[in-house]
């Protein structure tokens, strides 16, 4: 028998909601429920995770750090795709295009003015990172009118077309991109007069870049989480769940779809700039359909319409190649040689496809859903309910 519960009385607006003594898990107001870290375990776990992440430069090897940094950067891109596809429900296969816009904006701004490709020599990270996001967002706003006229699979095909047109432009505009097979150097990260890509006395380049990515991920992750629980986030969810109903209750579809595309493209632009800071090299043919599919895989495997899910998915997909590269030691029939009949690159690509299919059929809520199940199981342990 549970103790008799009383419904909390309505509180006048403006007064701080009081926590009931002895019932820390009981919410007495909507704002408590909507808080960023609404339970104590969540608060503790998130803080511990962030601390661990910031301690990583002293715990992990440099090549691991560079991989983790890549995963952090990809997480930002995945969050961006999740905003437009997960929260607002607008299927976009064109994420690779926006990543490319961001990567090239950053590379052009920070590039060597005397180099083979266009460059302006503005190497400050803050400047080119914001510029990369803003230029990508501008392209997102340009695409948004199509999204307000179309829906569902029509939109998916149009954004697919965007990837192909973008790929052609990047291949042909040699002054900007260096051309197919040649490429150009990635953005130069400089902060407070220190080039983060050079190894210094205190930190190696991988450590510095990892910290940069981590700070960016924390900032953009919190921003996205806040967006999702605001009026805008609720409008996105309404559009996703039933666009006609949303417009009937007063959600301006054109307006919010444009916001969704702009924010999503901003994140993609930032992610593109950061990813290619780590890899240090931009090859124009890499912004193809497979890249878009990788980001869709991150969102679907991580969990649709969740920020933590996007991060989990991005880490999963980014670290997957590292795992498959190790697979020949365990599974001797897989070869490391790219020309062999069954090699690690093929296994990797097949895994993208199979993981997408598997997660959609067996766990549509993704890694986040698996985590929710684990959490709920231990909540009541050792009782089953």
């Amino acid at each position: 028998m549970s103790a008799p519960t009383t419904t909390p009385p309505e509180r006048p607006a403006g007064r701080k909601p009081r926590q009931l003594s002895g019932r820390p898990g009981l919410y007495t107001s909507y704002s408590q429920h909507l808080r960023l870290l609404n339970t104590r375990p969540k608060l503790v776990a998130v803080l511990a995770l962030v601390l661990l992440a910031f301690a990583m430069p002293w715990l992990a090897q440099d090549n691991t750090l560079s991989l983790l940094g890549l995963a952090c950067a990809a997480s930002i891109g995945a969050i961006g795709l999740n905003i437009v596809t997960g929260y607002a429900g607008q299927v976009s296969l064109g994420h690779a295009f926006f990543l490319a816009i961001g990567a090239y904006t950053a590379a052009v701004l920070s590039g060597d003015p005397a180099g083979r490709t266009i460059g302006f020599g503005v190497t400050n990270v803050v400047v080119w990172l914001l510029a990369a996001g803003l230029v990508a967002a501008l392209f997102g706003v340009l695409v948004a009118p199509l999204a307000t006229r179309l829906r569902g699979l029509y939109l998916a095909i149009v954004t697919l077309g965007l990837v192909f047109i973008g790929e052609h432009v990047f291949k042909e505009w040699r002054g900007l991109t260096g051309g197919a097979g040649v490429g150009r150097p990635g953005p130069v990260p400089e902060l407070f007069g220190v080039n983060l890509a050079d190894s210094g006395d205190v930190f190696t380049s991988d450590q510095k870049l990892y910290l940069l990515m981590l700070v960016c991920l924390v900032v953009f992750g919190v921003l996205a989480r806040n967006l999702a629980r605001s009026k805008v986030g609720r409008a996105f969810a309404a559009i996703r769940d039933r666009d006609i109903a949303a417009s009937v209750i007063g959600v301006n579809l054109a307006h919010y779809k444009m916001i969704a595309f702009a924010v999503s493209s901003f994140y993609a632009g930032v992610a593109g700039a950061l990813v290619y800071t780590i890899t240090g090299f931009i090859e124009p043919t890499s912004f193809n359909l497979l890249l878009s599919v990788q980001y869709i895989a991150m969102v679907l495997i991580g969990g649709v319409a969740t920020i933590s899910g996007s991060i989990m998915g991005a880490f999963f997909i980014t670290l997957l190649p590292a795992l498959t590269r190790e697979s020949p030691t365990i599974l001797p029939f897989i070869s490391n040689d790219a020309s062999a009949p069954l090699n690690v690159f093929q296994v990797e690509t097949v895994l993208y496809g199979l993981l997408i299919i598997g997660f959609l059929i067996f766990e549509p809520r993704g890694l986040f859903g698996i985590w929710t199940r684990i959490r709920n199981y231990w909540k009541a342990w050792p009782f089953s309910y």
Partner: protein, 295 residues
């Protein structure tokens, strides 16, 4: 003038390939309201299968066997991967087909290897001239084959019981079920037909140039074709496919003279540019059903 004519004829030939592929997309779309992104993989599989069969069986028999084989492959995919997803949101099913495409293509690439495989067609690059207009024989073969296939297909939908069932199911699934139509048979048949069409298209795409790992990209050009014609219109798919083929061919012929600043091989992406322009003017294509609800 002669250049214009021969370019148009080549475009019609290439466009008939797009029409076949577009029909595959539209047939699946009409039956289950899903765009199957697995079509490129099926097309590539068809071309590769024919390239393996052509040695022992000869070209004609190899194509027939290839069509049957890929139709069975489509059937198998529908039964194993798509069937459990019936009733789920279309976006989910579409992404699953994308996953199928990626996984399947890697397997097929293993059969292609690094060299170019030949489908052993009797045409190669040989040309015929008629009244001074030169056109490659393979384009004529493509066009004629497509005309035959499309005629058979339209007759099938119009005059057979299964065709009638398909039309009923695409009109209203639940009512069709209530009338005793097996909608699952309709789904299976749609995937089988789409697979068969993809196999024919793949074989013809590979005539002359051969099969390599990049061939699949051609199948995606059927997407502009179906957008142009309207997602749910069979006739629109044919018109859209032919239009896209002709536009691409004309751009390939004249763009280097009139607009060289667009870069080399602009013709490859011209279908997508056409698609964007069409969508700005007519969001549901030339012959597509206009959805009543506005958003």
């Amino acid at each position: 003038m002669k250049e214009l004519l021969s370019s148009t004829l080549a475009g019609l030939g290439q466009g008939s390939i797009y029409a076949l592929l577009a029909l595959g997309f539209v047939i699946i779309y009409k039956s289950m309201r899903v765009i199957s992104f697995a079509q490129p993989a099926l097309m590539l599989a068809g071309a590769v299968l024919v390239s393996y069969l052509v040695g022992p069986f000869g070209f004609i028999l190899a194509v027939i066997l290839g069509v049957v084989g890929i139709a069975l492959l489509g059937l198998g995919l529908e039964r194993t991967v798509i069937r459990p997803m019936v009733g789920k949101p279309v976006f989910v099913v579409a992404i699953i087909t994308l996953g199928i495409d990626i996984a399947l293509r890697v397997v097929i690439n293993g059969f292609i290897g690094t060299d170019v495989r030949q489908v052993g067609d009797p045409w190669g690059f040989s040309r015929v001239s008629f009244l001074g207009v030169t056109v490659q024989e393979r384009y004529i073969a493509m066009f004629l084959t497509t005309v035959v296939v499309i005629t058979v297909l339209f007759a099938f939908f119009k005059y057979t019981r299964l065709g009638l069932a398909t039309r009923a199911a695409s009109f209203d699934q639940e009512t069709a079920l209530a009338q005793g139509i097996s909608v699952s048979t309709v789904f299976a048949m749609a995937w089988a037909i789409a697979g068969g069409l993809a196999a024919i298209a793949g074989t013809f795409v590979a005539t002359g140039v051969g099969v390599d790992q990049q061939l699949w990209i051609i199948a995606l050009k059927a997407l502009p074709a179906i957008i142009l014609g309207g997602l749910d219109s069979l006739g629109g798919a044919v018109v859209g496919g032919l239009t896209i083929g002709v536009v691409e061919s004309l751009v390939a012929t004249y763009q280097s003279d009139f607009a060289p600043w667009l870069g080399d091989n602009f013709s490859v992406v011209s279908p997508y540019v056409v698609m964007l322009l069409v969508l700005l003017v007519k969001p549901y294509g030339l012959f597509g059903t206009r959805e009543v609800e506005r958003v």
